[in-house]
């Protein structure tokens, strides 16, 4: 038995890769029903915030993700946009990380907006990419003070004055909520939007980045947060519309289990190898 276990210590990684691929594929091919515990406070916070939004409220979405982080950010954007459309709340979309982001945001939003009968320009706009790599803080502050001066046309090149929705958005004071969904949202949103103007801020982030933001949830500086697919799945449960987050969190279940099993196998193998070495000596 010990000899067999010791072989696990030097297990060919290809077997691990194969096991991981199989484990990740299973939940994507078949939907495995699993129970869900309570909704976390961070997710509930964002949901309640949008539920409490007045009919004339406008939400700013900073959708700054592309193919690299779409595995979690896509579901986080999708469920919040669905909620906004369900409540007929208008929203403005910007992107601040890479020039690819507006296209990815558009792909997610357009079908949901179309289904909800939203008219582009009147009910929602995609204001495109704003280069903020040299200083997210100054860009946020610029947007907060005068949106029209910072962004003079939307992603299609339509001047901002010709977009009916943008007539109601001049500064951050005209916005009800800012929702930043990206790999790791900038805390500048908290400092310069929530801190300076008092406009609520919520985040959607990759689950590995979520621990950095719990301090802001605790202090009330963040109104809500969707942490990875788990957050999106909980949000979908609140909307009673299981979708991408629910499906992908199931895949994450198996992925996380693979990591734990690999660590367990590695440790068992090491323990057996050391025991055999001690016996031999």
């Amino acid at each position: 038995m010990t000899r067999w276990l010791a072989k696990l210590h030097n297990l060919n990684p290809r077997w691990l890769y194969l096991a991981t691929a199989v484990l990740l594929l299973v939940p994507l091919v078949t939907m495995i029903p699993m129970p869900r515990s309570d909704i976390s406070g961070a997710v509930r916070g964002l949901y309640d915030m949008i539920e409490a939004c007045p009919p004339d409220g406008i939400v700013l979405i900073d959708s700054s993700w592309d193919a690299g982080s779409q595995s979690e950010n896509k579901a986080e954007l999708k469920c919040v946009v669905r909620h906004l459309c369900r409540r007929k709340i208008r929203f403005v979309v910007i992107s601040t990380v890479t020039p690819f982001c507006p296209e990815f945001a558009g792909q997610v939003i357009e079908p949901i907006a179309k289904e909800a009968g939203y008219v582009y320009g009147r009910d929602w706009t995609n204001m495109g990419y704003i280069q903020a790599n040299t200083g997210l803080a100054v860009v946020i502050e610029g947007l907060a003070r005068d949106f029209h001066k910072m962004r003079q046309a939307d992603v299609h090149g339509t001047p901002v004055d010709q977009l009916p929705l943008m007539k109601d958005v001049r500064s951050i004071r005209d916005l009800y909520l800012v929702y930043s969904v990206t790999y790791s949202p900038g805390t500048e949103w908290i400092s310069f939007v929530k801190g300076q103007f008092g406009t609520p801020v919520a985040f959607g982030c990759m689950s590995i980045m979520a621990p950095s933001y719990y301090a802001y949830i605790d202090s009330g500086q963040l109104s809500g947060m969707l942490a990875g697919n788990r957050g999106a799945a909980e949000y979908e449960a609140l909307l009673q519309h299981p979708d991408l987050g629910t499906k992908l969190s199931m895949a994450a279940s198996f992925g996380n289990a693979a990591v734990i099993l690999a660590a367990l196998v590695g440790n068992l193998g090491l323990w057996a190898a050391l025991r055999m070495r001690r016996r031999a000596a």
């Binding site: 699993m34 129970p35 299609h156 090149g157 279940s253 090491l270």
Partner: protein, 229 residues
């Protein structure tokens, strides 16, 4: 001289943004109630930073193109890779510039440019991005097998916390512990770890990091420290 000019711009920029942020939007009535005189220039100052940053987008491809063209023209080692770079850069620029607007199919060359753009963007670039991130899952499992060794109390604690967090964040954890009392269920324990010990540590790290960032900012602003040029 050059160093002094850079320092002067840095100092002036830092002073402007600091004062604009610190001064109230409107002075109290007993001081005359005047508005912050720096605020009207904020958007222009911000646009200046955005424009300077955008120059880097042009500078990057330009430098890359210069290097690769040199390799290609002199047929140095790696000329084939340079040729691939130059060809794809040219195709991407032409296709992106001439493709029709979203939702429209276009005609003639614009239609062809749209097809090429979609093939490159969705068929190649997006697939590459997603694949490179997806590979992390395999590396993570391999790393957990090879490097995550429980050989002390500290590593044991870390393994236990990692297990609780990993399972507490996914439905599998809910399923595994659904029959146990609430406080022993993985999601409850994971939320507690994230909200209590993690928050305390994050705050401590943040306070320390912010102190460091402040000190670095002041040094940069005042031009204290070693010469970088």
């Amino acid at each position: 001289m050059r160093r002094r000019v850079v320092w002067l711009i840095t100092f002036a920029g830092g002073l402007y943004f600091l004062l604009e942020f610190l001064l109230p939007e409107q002075a109290p009535a007993w001081l005359g109630g005047f508005k912050n005189p720096l605020t009207p220039y904020l958007t222009d100052a911000t646009n200046f930073i955005v424009v300077v940053g955008t120059m880097a987008f042009l500078l990057g491809p330009f430098n890359l193109l210069r290097g690769h063209l040199g390799t290609l023209l002199r047929l140095r080692k790696g000329w084939f890779e340079s040729a691939v770079f130059v060809v794809f850069l040219t195709i991407s620029i032409v296709a992106a510039a001439d493709r029709p607007d979203e939702g429209k199919s276009g005609a003639g060359f614009a239609h062809l440019a749209g097809l090429v753009y979609n093939a490159l963007f969705y068929g190649v670039l997006t697939a590459f991005f997603a694949s490179s991130m997806a590979l992390l899952a395999f590396y993570l499992v391999s790393a957990a097998h090879r490097a995550f060794r429980v050989n002390s109390v500290e590593t044991g604690l870390m393994m236990a916390a990692a297990t609780v967090i990993l399972l507490g964040q996914v439905p599998l954890g809910d399923w595994m512990t659904q029959g146990l009392p609430k406080f022993l269920q993985f999601p409850t324990m994971a939320q507690w770890i994230l909200a209590v010990p993690n928050t305390a540590v994050q705050r401590a790290v943040l306070i320390g990091a912010c102190g460091g960032a402040f000190a670095t900012g002041v040094r940069l602003w005042l031009g204290i420290g070693k010469r970088q040029d």
